[in-house]
Every structure is written in C-alpha cells, then in structure tokens.
Amino acid sequence: MSAAIAPSVPVGGAATAVRLIWRLSVRGMLRIARRPSLIIPTLIMPVFLLVSFSGSFSGLGGLQGYGTDNVYNWMTAYAVLQGVSFAGVGAAGMTAEDMENGFYDRLLLVPGGRLPLLLGPIGYSLLRSLIPTTMVLLVAYTLGSADVAGGVAGVAMVYLGAFGVATAFACLGLFAVFILKSMRALLAIQVPIFMITFLSIGQVPLSFQTGWLHAVSRINPITPVLTMMRQGFLGPVTWADSWPGLVALLALVGFFGIGAWVMLRRMAP
C-alpha cells in the first residue's frame, strides 16, 4: 500500500472538479462506442433527416423569399438541431440509467461539491454533439453542395448554436431526471423537445408560415437560434442575425440550468 496519500485531505478542489467533469464526459462517449444502437440517434438519424428533408422538399428552393435555391443550405441547421437535441437527451439518459442501476449512489458519495454531477453529463452532451454537427456539416458540403457564404464564422455559429442547444436540453433532461429519478424522465421531455424544435423555422422561413404556426414559431426561442446557426449558409454572418439567438440560448440554458441545479440540490443536499 502506498502511504503517500494522506486520507481526508482534499487535493485541489477546483482542479479535482474539472478532472471529474472531464472523466464523466468521456465516460458518456465510451457508452456510445460500446452500445452500437446509440449510433442511430447520434449519427444516422441526423444525417437521414438532412438528406430526406432536403431531398423531399428540394422544390422549396424555387420559391421567392426562401433565401436560397439549394434547400441543403436551409435544412443543415435544422438537422444539426435535431442531432444535438438527441445529444442533450442522452445526458439525461445516462444519468437516469445510473440511478436505475444504483451506480449513481457512488457518484453521490463524491467528497467535493455537487457541480460535477450536473456539468459532467452536460460535458458528455457537448462532446457527443460534435458528432452529429460535424457529420451533418460534412454531408451537407459534400452530398448537398451547401454554400459556405459565411465562411469560418458561419461554421462557428453552427457549432455555437449546437453547443448551446445541447446544453439547454441536457439541463432540461437532467431537471426531469432529478425529479423522476428514472428513465420515465426521458419520455416526459421527448414531447416538449420535439414540439419546440418542430414548431419553429426548421423547414421554412417565418414568412411562409400561416395562422397558429406563425404565431407559435415567432415567439419560439428556437427560431432565433436557428437564424443564428443558418445565417452562414445564406450570406455573411451579421450581428443582427446573431444576438437574438445568443440571448435565446443564454435564457434557455439559464432557465433549465437553474432548474436542474435546484432539483439536484433538493435531491442531494
């Protein structure tokens, strides 16, 4: 036995927390590698949605006011959004599974603060969202000949939006998991997440939408996020198309993040 480690002496609080957050994030990625079925929501679904939305609705490019004649330019941001939504739900899924098989008790016995239990799964959803985001972008550029009008800044906006949405939905999922403490939490959040992403400018601009849909997607916080992520495909990146999305993301992350943190503290003081 190595006697070098004196018990009950904390080693670097913040540094330990950061290392733990990283380990928990990597742990999530290991699951993807080891559970082949996870490749469907992580990779196959987002790419399929890109190809099928763009393919089925390619005629929309011929309409005045659509903003682009290549529908891939429009659908890429939407397919990325779907992919990172699954990534956010995945963070909740990992935590719910830990709770169901009892492993979460071991995590609750961590001597430091509780923050890594929130930030670890979020880190996982961020790492994981790199996969659908990058793959959808690659397919859009190669198969769909999407434009890079916005250049590096445009691509950066896609990743920024992806990370923001993944974080927000991970927080929403964790909020539900910390309350329900089981996989049922995933079912509970799937419908709201589907609705908030679907009732937006995912497939057509606001000006095309009529009636109730127009009213809903105009106030939907995901709408400015999509505008921000999409702008690089339609033209140069502008501040006017960026700040509303950033504000919406900050609000979503703040709202769900605080909710998740409060529920975590209530469950594990």
Partner: protein
C-alpha cells in the same frame, strides 16, 4: 481519539413508515462492527444515513469525527463505501472505474496510476482489469466494489451486505480481505443477514429488528447470556403436544421452525439422557433430535421471538 462512528437516537421515517426508530451506535477505532438483521430491518437505512446518502429525520451521527449532515463532504472524504448489490456501471471496465473513483477523491494522476493496479491485485482482479464489469461474476463485482471503496485509503469502511448472494468460496475470500483490512487498522462497519458472517468477522455486533437495536455486544458474550444449549426434536404431528409437555419439564420453550419442538436445555448437555428416557416413557417416537450450543440465531430468537430467515 474520538470514536469513528457515533450515532444518537437516529430516526428515519418515509411517510408514515418508520424505518429506523431510535438507533444509538458507538463503534471504536479498529473495530469490526456488524449490524445483523433480517431484510427490511432498517440496516441499509442506517448505513445510508451514516454515509450521508440519506438525511436522518431525527437524531444525529458523527462519522470519522464529522457530523453527517453539517459536514457531509468531510465525512465522504474519510469513508469508503460498498453499497448493496455492488451497483456499478456494467458498461465500464474495472480500470476505468478505478480511474473515475480516484478522480472523484482527488488523487493525483501519479498516485492513481500506482494505486489502481495495486488494489486490483489486492482483490485478485488484475487479469480482469480491462474487461467490462458486465462480464464479471457476482463475486468479482463485490471485490471490485471493495477495491473502489478503498482507493483513498479510508479510515472507516462501510460494507452493506457485502456477501449477499455469493457462493461460499467467494464469501470466504471477501471475509479474508475484510480481516486483512481490519488488521491494517481500518474500522469496518458491515451489515449482514448471515449469522455466520457476523460470527466470523465481528468483534461486536448489534441485532436490529423493526428499526430498533434489540441486542448489542460481542458475539461470545451475547451467546453466553443465552446460557443453555438448544434441544430440538422432530416428532409426528399427533405427538407434538405431548412432546412439548414432556420437554417443558427440562427447560423453557424456544422458538423454532414449524413442526418442531425446541427448548433451552436447562441442565446443559449432561441432561440429555434423562430427556430421551422421559420421551421414551411417554411413548413419543423421535424422527430427529439435535442439541446445539447457543448460537447467534438463539440470541436473535431470544431477542425477537423469531428465527432469522434461512437460519437453523
């Protein structure tokens, strides 16, 4: 030196159910203390309160000198915990879990690199370190769970039913490891529903039933307090009542399995011949007869009026 585990009037209620109903505990440094009781007696609830996973409804507890509610983080830093069923993520390998555990306890990378393989060797899992836990046997899981709880060299170790469901060989090897740890100075608090486990390992034990401690002391002392050995007989149903009458002349009746008659043989083993003669004279046929020195089961039966499930 303060006692590593002290609890005063611990109570835990879940809604209307009182799972733990006023438990006091004093465990000394370097002791192996066992909590013996049937399923649902409140053993795990007490452990979960002591390791900070559950807040007491009433009462207080100090572990390793820290209050379990107000100084929970310090408690967690000082203790090692292996919970019931060895619930560990089946998707990860032993090495990955050890790494995660060392990060949780803030071990420097260099220390973790030495400590992980050391612990795996200690519990005999070196060859399985890179295999996923999902492929481990029950015994291997428990041993890995034990290794995980030792990563930061805790002064106090909590083991919640460490051998439930294990085969005798795996149970033996886990006992040996617990003894070794105790020899090195670790205080061990374990819960069990196995009499033999408590008998073999514990310096002192408490019997818990219905959320209360009903007996407490060293196994030897508790057994001595029972005094007389237990005599049990099997006889056909038609003779059972008369058998009980005859036996009552030789000692107090004791609880036993359905269909048997048992007493505490007041005169000790020397009185056996007389008992057999008396039964014979009364014309009571014997299917089976046994005489046991007092066991922890007798202690349990004496305290609760019931036998421990699966015992006897």
């Amino acid at each position: 030196m303060t006692q590593p585990i002290v609890a005063e009037a611990l109570v835990r209620r879940f809604g209307d159910l009182t799972a733990v109903d006023g438990v006091d505990l004093h465990v000394d440094e370097g002791e192996v203390f066992a909590f013996l009781g049937p399923n649902g007696a409140g053993k795990s609830t007490v452990v979960r309160m002591l390791v900070t996973l559950l807040r007491p409804t009433e009462g207080s507890a100090r572990v390793a000198g820290f209050d379990v509610v107000t100084e929970a983080a310090a408690v967690r830093r000082s203790i090692g915990v292996a919970l019931q069923d060895a619930a560990i993520d089946p998707m990860m390998t032993g090495n990955e879990l050890l790494l995660l555990q060392s990060v949780m306890h803030g071990l420097p990378r260099s220390a973790a690199r030495v400590r992980g393989p050391e612990l795996l060797e200690r519990v005999g899992l070196t060859a399985a370190g890179d295999r996923r836990v999902g492929t481990y046997s029950g015994g291997m899981r428990r041993r890995l769970d034990l290794a995980l709880s030792l990563i930061h060299e805790p002064r106090v170790l909590f083991l919640d039913e460490p051998t439930t469901g294990l085969d005798p060989t795996s149970r033996q090897s886990l006992w040996e490891e617990v003894r070794r740890l105790n020899d090195e100075g670790t205080t061990v608090f374990l819960t069990t529903q196995y009499l033999e486990e408590a008998d073999q390992l514990a310096g002192r034990l408490a019997i818990i039933d219905g959320g209360r401690i009903v007996r407490e002391g060293a196994p030897g002392t508790l057994k001595e307090a029972i005094g007389s050995p237990t005599l049990r007989i099997d006889t056909p149903d038609s003779h059972r009542d008369s058998a009980a009458e005859v036996l009552a002349r030789f000692g107090e009746p004791r609880p036993c399995r359905e269909g048997r008659v048992a007493i505490g043989l007041a005169g000790g083993a020397g009185g056996m011949a007389e008992v057999v003669r008396a039964l014979d004279e009364a014309g009571i046929p014997l299917d089976h007869l046994e005489l046991d020195a007092p066991s922890l089961d007798d202690v349990f039966a004496d305290a609760t009026g019931r036998r421990l499930e699966g015992a006897e």
